[in-house]
Symmetry: C2
Amino acid sequence: MTASPQQMANAIRALAMDAVEAANSGHPGMPMGMADVATTLFTTYLKFDPQAPKWHDRDRFVLSAGHGSMLIYALLYLTGYEAPSIDDIRNFRQLGSRCAGHPENFELAGVECTTGPLGQGLAMAVGMAIAERHLNANFGNDLVDHRTWVIAGDGCLMEGINHEAVGLAGHLGLGRMIVLWDDNRITIDGAVSLSSSEDIPARYRASGWHVEACDGHDPAEIARAIDAALADPRPSLVACRTIIAKGAPNKQGTSATHGAALGAAEVAAARTELGWTAEPFVVPEPILEAWRATGKRGAQARTAWEARLAAAALGGELKRRMAGDATPDGWLRPYLDNLIAAPQNIATRKASELALGAINDAIPETLGGSADLTGSNNTKTSATAPLSKNDYSGRYIYYGIREFGMAAAMNGMALHGGIIPYGGTFLVFADYCRNAIRMSALQRVRTVYVMTHDSIGLGEDGPTHQPVEHLMSLRVVPNLDVYRPCDTIETAECWALALHKTDGPSLLALSRQNLPQLRTDISQNWSARGAYRLRAAKAARRVVLIATGSEVEIAISVADALEEKGIGADVVSMPSWERFDAQTETYRREVLPHGTLMVSIEAGSTMGWERYVHGGLRFGVDGFGASAPIADLYNHFGLTAVAITPQIISELQGN
Amino acid sequence: MTASPQQMANAIRALAMDAVEAANSGHPGMPMGMADVATTLFTTYLKFDPQAPKWHDRDRFVLSAGHGSMLIYALLYLTGYEAPSIDDIRNFRQLGSRCAGHPENFELAGVECTTGPLGQGLAMAVGMAIAERHLNANFGNDLVDHRTWVIAGDGCLMEGINHEAVGLAGHLGLGRMIVLWDDNRITIDGAVSLSSSEDIPARYRASGWHVEACDGHDPAEIARAIDAALADPRPSLVACRTIIAKGAPNKQGTSATHGAALGAAEVAAARTELGWTAEPFVVPEPILEAWRATGKRGAQARTAWEARLAAAALGGELKRRMAGDATPDGWLRPYLDNLIAAPQNIATRKASELALGAINDAIPETLGGSADLTGSNNTKTSATAPLSKNDYSGRYIYYGIREFGMAAAMNGMALHGGIIPYGGTFLVFADYCRNAIRMSALQRVRTVYVMTHDSIGLGEDGPTHQPVEHLMSLRVVPNLDVYRPCDTIETAECWALALHKTDGPSLLALSRQNLPQLRTDISQNWSARGAYRLRAAKAARRVVLIATGSEVEIAISVADALEEKGIGADVVSMPSWERFDAQTETYRREVLPHGTLMVSIEAGSTMGWERYVHGGLRFGVDGFGASAPIADLYNHFGLTAVAITPQIISELQGN
């Protein structure tokens, strides 16, 4: 006795209804609407093995429409993953359940990425598909040969990031990526026609995609469309015409089913409609057996792959890369020794390029890029040839003017594994990709954001291009390490720390303008402390000047001016708040001792600096910037020793 | 003796070269490449009058590719605007010059919006085109009948926001919008083909646009294409095939001309190539005269319009709306009286809907919308019928899943004048439109962001949908007023303040969950003070509890628990940091007196609260949220009176 595809799909529908009903919260419409498509995908096409959920060569499946999380929870349970259990599903959306409101990559193997913020799942999948081709180019078809599948809804397709993701995928010819579009013509507000008149297939074709369409409730039709997608060398969009909440006889096809429980009466009616007589959370044995058999489809391919991996000359290297451990620091010491021998007074963006030169030579898994600011972000080095449709082995991506698409693709590469992605833009345009940076942090992936032109020091381009609030607004993002190094030495140290942070992103804020090499002590990675005394007071210490990045040089000038008046002033460089806050109380007190006037100098928002200066002085920029040459701007905003020193003296006299 | 179109265009080229050369910084390529197109537009099509630059019925011209700012500066000077003067142009990119690196709407009449962050100029133009049709529907063809023109480059078209803007414009059938695309096939990194393979005309057609193409250096061709665009009822994209830096014989057509001065030798060669013999910054008299004559084309139409306005029954109302003064508060008092008479224990998002009911009835220029969360953001009221292609008089826009496009369109409407736009999404998705919020602030326009589900109180949807760092990250944006009201009364007060802020945006952070109506004193708008003592200590005051929004209720419970132990505790509600910081020192000290333990309670980042609590206690959420019912989350994160009270007592004992 076997189960029909229809019955197997109905198991998804039943679990989705039951879980949402129990939680009295959630999104039943999408799982019920896409149950048939998902059943076809998982029973016939997807390469996976629940017994080895992290199998490197598995297909990646991304539920971009993450609100329909019960779809993937049902699939993982039915195909026999260790988790979620049926109890996890019973506890859908409850505190501590692995079945969270939206799928979280850190909760469940089989959830390849956290989805929820619309558009980003698909855009991360582009990164996964890039990673697959890149590793394929390096390790060959025997070891790397998988596909990336996406289920996306109208929301994912309407978001701006979709344009960037689709453009990138089309340009790079990512033919192993297939997007199954839940074409249900419903959004939260009502019919899609309320807000959009777009011919979506035509748009995808315009970006170099292949497009198929099918009845999303007819398994044969779905299979025909997927077969056509597989046969086409381009990335494919499969428009699956579906009915949202298919099976709920009175509510299906309406926005009412998008984000709310169906209610007991409608669930009962749906059970009748579907011929589903089992108790809630119970899947009849034959149907569960059929699903579990599906979950065993991939085992043979996986063991064969493991044998190939074990035999392959490059197998060890692939394993090393996929393990994603912290990178070795062998490059750092000789690089720093060279800097000490021949100090470089250069912009920290240039210092980053020099450090990357050493890093990219030593660490083959870095893969860089820039959102069309390569020469400004200094992200390209001699080791990084372009990655293109014709040569995926390259280690540099010309992302185009696509900051958000770049950041999401970086997340996808990091999630795929085997790659440490870094990408550049101006710091002010962190705004454009901010939620993807947040998603790096939430998903605990190692991405490195190279954000240059990090203050009014950008100069003539003016306030639209000058970050002011950005440093502070990024420091509040949980699990994001923000670094603002002051010279070549700190820049290299911060790069080393970023490469060591395997469970989260780092962001380097780098200057446009040249800066002196200030550090002489390379006995330890002082940046790892977050802040440290760069120069001790000569006279009796009455002031501690805390500065970051390009303003450390100014702090030193201020200290000089104070010392001339007999006022002792420490200069503390603070490249990272997060790291400093993680130090012991003893260390922090030693660097920022009580009983002295604390003064912060940073060319950005002063809000937040109360944390370290308490009632002291905060120098910065709290309004928008202006268009002028850099020296004029620092004068105009009072960020000079001439402007700052007398204010400190006055404060000391008042005390 | 008259000047040829070629000579007139060369005047733009010469001024662009000269200004960039003098500044030794800037973008000569775009102005030189688009000089012919701009000349055709300004001499033949654009409806404008430099003598009355704020003429309400002028065409709007948006230089979306704002880095090519010398194009618009040259055009304004040549056509006879009062500013910029030739000296302003000489001082291009210098401190205090009105000719900033990127065009700033607050520097020059004729610059309709600040452009620079790519993609947003075009997206703001969509808002301007909506505003035009909406006012046309209200005031008729005699008073409102103009077009919106955009010059955009590949960067504007590649950004994600372009998809949202184009989708919205196509859906709404904004046929009076014409985008002149500088199709020069060059980006900063090199050829467009490095990063994109898109068929742009096909994409625009897929979104309901009409597309023309022309040789962007042939005036007759340009005119033919624009005529076709004018004749078509759809919004139009005109692909103007150009050569970047056209006229610079050795560098034209290369990315080298995008963002750097040409250099003296190439400028000299270009002068030879163009037959341009005048001194730098000098435009030969016949050419200047021809341009100035162009600048007089619109005067007659403008005076005729003024006569119609004076005679029209609705003329006064149009003038009132376009003046954009602070709205009257007549709606507020009766609305508050009703609340006092019948207190409402509802979510502040619902309180916002109730307030909007009164506001939208009283103030006809509000125009609302939501990015597909209408029922969750509570942004629609009975007065706001949908604005659609078939009825532009509606006051509600179903923006679709387009947060960034919505926010930019709101900016465009506010810049156009005559409309006070507000729009909703979840607070966490402020990330998606963050730079447009910044652009509201930089451009000093009145937009109101209705951001609901403002904390972990969002509940089951989990960490992707729960804002944590967002409140703080928005408070650091200059000139943005962030409000987090605690009940129905404060919500109405904050709305009144937002409508009064004519020179900048406001953002309302509103709860999903129900909250008690706490305020009883409506003798003044206490929210205008930013923070105020909501409840005074009964026992001797030892603690001041500072809370915002949904946590004010918790602060009151904490105060109750402390008072039971004989510990006096004030409760301060602080709906707005910006407003509190603007109060007198005396007021601030009165609300937050020295010598008491300060405690902040806000369900978000605690970083930054040091500003008010100094060494006191900060309760909040510094990591990511979780998926669970709201009560479980507040327990889990320790934001309850039971969890907080003993920590305060312990701190008092330690002191």
